[in-house]
Amino acid sequence: MGYGAEGFSIYDLQLWAQGLGLTIWIFLISSILGLLIGCLIGLIRSYRVPVIGKLLMVISEFLKNSPVLVQLFLVYFGIPAIFTIDMTPGLAAIITLTGNTAAFIAVIVISSIDSIDKRQLEAARSFALSETIILRWIIFPQSLSVAMPMLVGLAINQLQVTSLISVIGVIDLTRVGDIINQRTFEPFIVWPLIGLTYFILAKTIAYVGTRLEKRFSAYRLTNEL
């Protein structure tokens, strides 16, 4: 223990729990919103809606190919400069991560819909099934099965990306690590523990994802004759 440093206290555990809660909360909310918006963008593009489809893809390309930290600064410092809104670090974090997630989801949606055999869709149309029914009962389940591994990968990646929001002052898990470390000067205890927490979260996502994946792809895994 370094000079002038204080030891760990029970209060640190509480701080850790709060940081963990915030990280999970921001991760969940931006993932769910990103999923919804990304699906919408993907569908608009897949159904070749003119102009809007293209425009959304340009935005999505920008979000995918620029650093999340830059996007975060743009939202946190940029939006209040143009609009009179009260931009909190938490709101900036959610907006940025939602947009970024949506961009990746859109690409996943488009590629998984593309991977579906188009002839079965023609068959479905020839039986007078409506486009909505086809989307719900034919396109959606099959794209989901194809998309699942990509979605799980994305979720794990986006979880790690949430740590960037500590830079603008959100007291997430990473920021909590920073606070405790500054007080205790125990980097080799604090950071491995924080890292382990992220690791366990990621493994949980992977576990749930694999279970879901198996369920959605049962039809592709069976091959007995």
Binding site: R119, A123, S126, F127, L129, I133, W137, A218, Y219, L225
Partner: protein, 248 residues
């Protein structure tokens, strides 16, 4: 009645159908013969609205395929069986069959499933109800394809080379089922390369050549020496096909 009048279909600069006129009456079994690329599939796809029409008209019992509202009625009346089966891979055999009856005809799940089971029994697949398409042989898949089509209670059955992806043994099992259907009086338009099958089931044979109907004759007349076979193009096609079928 299916009434095709002066049907033209272009893909870009390529004119695939060049003024086809064809009437099919209820109860008739009509086989469409013709070389590869003559436009047979395109014609079938125009009837069920999977291809747009360049000019001319198609009506089914008075419903015009080019009218969006009418097309739904046309599609309810005409069921198609596809060359590559085109089943929904993520659905069980039974769900493949009941999807459209439930969502288009408004059948209850129970009624649709009872009917589906009955159909599966009639083609000897009652033990495959819960299998996925990937677990079936080609012949079994096509039998499901036929059940899926029949489950809609169609007035017209459109068949586009439904045995072309099957080996001879499976071809025989599928043709047997279709022969029975033909006997039961369902209206069928069948694109096929199986000359013997066409000869057995058809009332009429239509021969398509480069997007035009070269002959449209009652079966016996078509196969007579002084009938369809008098045309050198048809004679050549028939001898090529019988050679091919003997080899297979």
């Amino acid at each position: 009645m299916i009434d095709i009048k002066n049907l033209h279909k272009n893909f870009g600069d390529l004119e695939v159908l060049k003024g086809v006129n064809l009437k099919i009456n209820p109860g008739e079994v009509v086989s469409i013969l013709g070389g590869s690329g003559s436009g047979k599939s395109t014609m079938i796809r125009c009837i069920n609205g999977l291809e747009s029409i360049t000019s001319g008209t198609i009506s089914v019992d008075g419903f015009n395929v080019e009218n969006k509202q009418d097309l739904l009625e046309v599609r309810k009346k005409c069921s198609t069986v596809f060359q590559q089966f085109d089943l929904y891979p993520h659905l069980s055999v039974l769900d493949n069959i009941t999807l459209a009856p439930i969502n288009v005809l408004g059948n209850s799940k129970q009624i649709a499933e009872e009917k589906g089971l009955e159909l599966l029994k009639s083609v000897g697949l009652e033990d495959k109800t819960l299998s996925y398409p990937a677990q079936l042989s080609g012949g079994q898949k096509q039998r499901v394809g036929i059940c899926r089509a029949l489950a809609m209670n169609p007035d017209y059955l459109l068949l586009d080379e439904v045995t072309s992806s099957l080996d001879p043994e499976m071809t025989a099992e599928v043709l047997e089922i279709l022969k029975n259907l033909a006997k039961q009086g369902i209206t069928m338009i069948s694109v096929t390369h199986e000359i013997e099958f066409a000869r057995e089931i058809s009332d009429r044979i239509v021969f398509l050549d480069e997007g035009k109907i070269l002959s449209d004759l009652p079966k016996d007349q078509f196969f007579a020496v002084d009938g369809g076979r008098a045309d050198p193009r048809i004679a050549k096609f028939l001898s090529k096909m019988s050679e091919f079928n003997e080899k297979a």
